[in-house]
């Protein structure tokens, strides 16, 4: 019985922790990017900035310390001495603290009302210049 419980705990621990997380970058403390996840990794100049470079999976460095986390989930790391922002979905990463919880109230009560307004989607459209 006891042996079964231990076996279950061991298998559970195996399932809960991905192999790469357990072994890689063990010396790096805090938040860290462990490796590239997608075939290409985009690097940005700011959390909501421009894409400045794209690295192939094999050229993306492993075990990078995350220096900052943006509210839009982007991770700041240093690549070749330059501070860049990496989209988290493109890399395998490890966070020292818990990820912010994503919750949703899908069930809505008031179904008889609709918003009677239009969202200002085009507010930053270029204005037409008057003819001289």
């Amino acid at each position: 019985m006891k042996r079964n419980i231990l076996l279950a705990m061991f298998l559970g621990a195996l399932g809960a922790t991905p192999a790469w997380a357990a072994n890689e970058c063990a010396t790096l403390a805090g938040d860290a990017i462990l490796s590239a996840r997608t075939p290409e990794v985009d690097l940005y100049d700011a959390p909501s900035g421009k894409r400045i470079k794209t690295l192939d999976q094999d050229k993306f460095p492993k075990c990078l310390a995350v220096t900052q986390r943006a509210p839009n989930m982007m991770l700041q790391v240093s690549v070749d001495g330059a501070a860049v922002w990496v989209p988290p979905h493109m890399v395998n990463y490890r966070l020292a603290s818990k990820k912010p919880a994503i919750c949703r109230n899908l069930a809505m009560g008031g179904d008889n009302t609709k918003v009677g307004a239009t969202r200002a989607l085009g507010e930053d459209c270029p204005q037409k210049k008057a003819k001289p």
């Binding site: 989930m73 069930a107 969202r119």
Partner: protein, 492 residues
């Protein structure tokens, strides 16, 4: 007497008979109503009801029945979850914007990142339910163009949507995006009184440069045709009648119930559900979307997520928005107000579930396709013919009985009441049976023949009251018919 005077006298008599008919004559004449006349009166009444839609009765009956059928029968018991298990909606909603601190509108880069996050999970295909019509000044447009190229490289079909009803010269999709050769689909949907119950079978075609040209399959139909070649869709000539599922995706239920006090569905007994469907529809409707609803920030967060690993790979993903004031929401008969991206998802769900043969508002018999109204008229014809035949048999039997043995008043009353009830039910089941046969063999949806059931009961009531007989008796009398001419046994 001249011929003119004769005509005048005859006309005066006819007019007198029309004004003051002889009741006894009319009663005697109506017992001799011919079969063709009964059938003709019933047919005319049915056509009037179906074609002219008085007081919106036709529409109301159809739509109300479709809703009830969805809520009570098809949704919970007959509609399988085949399609639901292959479709996921990735949604940008208000909590997404709040969570990511990224106000709307997003730049092209943000959309590119969201699409890339989806691609990382290797979906079967992605349909982008955002319109990129405005030529917004944004340096990150190139990132979205590159993302399209990544999808091509990965072999994952990607669909964008093109704007319709735009001012002349306005491109349905930004030319920079259209030039990539990405598939562009028409996002039009069918809304009736704010509720989506039907889905178009065809839409606009967009050329390689994004320009409008001709007719193509509608969005869901095109996606289905491309992704499910093993069951090619039947040639659809009318509209699809959407069957809305009511078994909310388990992921949505778990996700919602984790934090929300308001559950997705209220568990009720079958009887209570029937009561609510008829008398308090809002409480019978579900509160969460039927198809899997994944928040986009969960995708952008990356990392390993069991739910995402289950819901995205090899699924058809609809990437859309639920944003306040974006005017992109409609009511569904079973879920209340929800973003229109779920309408496209449900249409594809129907196509997958019915293997390319969705319910329709038209009837196909061999090479011929009949639209809704002619189909209903055709469906009611057998009912009319049978009811008319039985009605005449009843009249003859009554006439024979009048000359034979007399029964007591109590017996007469009970037999009349019994016949009355049986008659109504006969009409009801006759129409129901024919409707079900049409649904089975001709693909006509319940909503499009159920009115025939109501009309059949009305026809039965007309026959019980003897409307065609009285009408015939009166017309025949006005035309100069005399009981002793045609009813020798009555006078014998």
């Amino acid at each position: 007497m001249t011929s003119r005077t004769k005509i005048r006298t005859r006309a005066a008599r006819t007019w007198e008979r029309a004004r003051r008919p002889d009741r006894e004559h009319v009663e005697a004449l109506k017992a001799r109503v011919p079969y063709w006349f009964v059938a003709l009166v019933l047919f005319a009444f049915s056509v009037l009801q179906i074609a002219l839609n008085p007081f919106g009765f036709s529409d109301l009956t159809q739509r109300y029945t479709q809703d009830i059928s969805n809520l009570l029968i098809t949704g919970p018991y007959l509609y399988p979850t085949t399609g639901r298990e292959q479709i996921t909606v990735a949604l940008v909603d208000e909590p997404t914007l709040h969570h990511l601190q990224m106000p709307w509108p997003w730049n092209y880069s943000a959309h590119a990142r969201a699409l890339d996050a989806l691609l990382a999970y290797k979906p079967k295909a992605v349909v982008v339910d955002f319109l990129f019509v405005d030529s917004r000044v944004d340096d990150s447009l190139g990132e979205l163009v590159e993302e399209i190229a990544r999808y091509k490289k990965a072999g994952v079909p990607l669909y964008f949507e093109g704007g319709t009803d735009l001012p002349y010269g306005e491109a349905p999709l930004r030319p920079e995006l259209a030039k990539t050769g990405v598939r562009i689909l028409d996002p039009s949907i069918e809304v009736y009184d704010g509720v989506v119950r039907q889905y178009p079978a065809s839409g606009h075609c967009f050329g390689p440069g994004g320009q409008l040209r001709g007719q193509c399959p509608s969005l869901a139909l095109q996606v289905y045709r491309d992704l499910y070649p093993e069951h090619p869709p039947a040639p659809l000539k009318g509209k699809m009648e959407l069957v809305w599922g009511t078994e909310t995706a388990p992921f949505n239920v778990t996700f919602n119930d984790r934090t929300n006090l308001l559950s997705c569905n209220e568990k009720t007994s079958f009887l209570l559900r029937i009561y609510r469907a008829f008398f308090d529809k809002k409480t019978a409707a579900g509160r969460c979307p039927y198809n899997n609803d994944v928040p986009v920030e969960a995708l952008l967060a990356g990392g390993y997520d069991d739910d995402l690993n289950r819901l995205i790979p090899n699924h058809v993903i609809f990437y859309g928005g639920a944003l306040q004031g974006a005017q992109d929401k409609s009511f569904s008969p079973v879920n209340g107000l929800q973003p229109n991206v779920f309408v496209h998802a449900m249409a594809l769900d129907n196509l997958i579930t019915f293997a390319g043969r969705p319910e329709q508002n038209v009837m196909s018999l061999g090479p011929y396709t009949f639209s809704n109204e002619p189909a209903q008229v055709m469906a009611i014809i057998p009912v009319i013919l049978i009811l008319s035949y039985l009605h005449l048999r009843r009249i003859r039997a009554r006439r024979r009985a009048a000359h034979g043995k007399e029964h007591g008043a109590l017996y007469e009353w009970f037999s009349d009441k019994g016949i009355e009830h049986l008659w109504q039910w006969l009409a009801f089941f006759l129409a129901l049976g024919i409707g079900l046969l049409l649904a089975r063999w001709a693909g006509l949806s319940v909503a499009n023949w159920v009115e025939d059931v109501f009309i059949s009961v009305e026809l039965a009531a007309m026959l019980l009251l003897g409307v065609p007989d009285s009408f015939w008796g009166y017309l025949r009398h006005v035309a100069g018919g005399r009981p002793d001419d045609i009813l020798p046994e009555a006078t014998a």
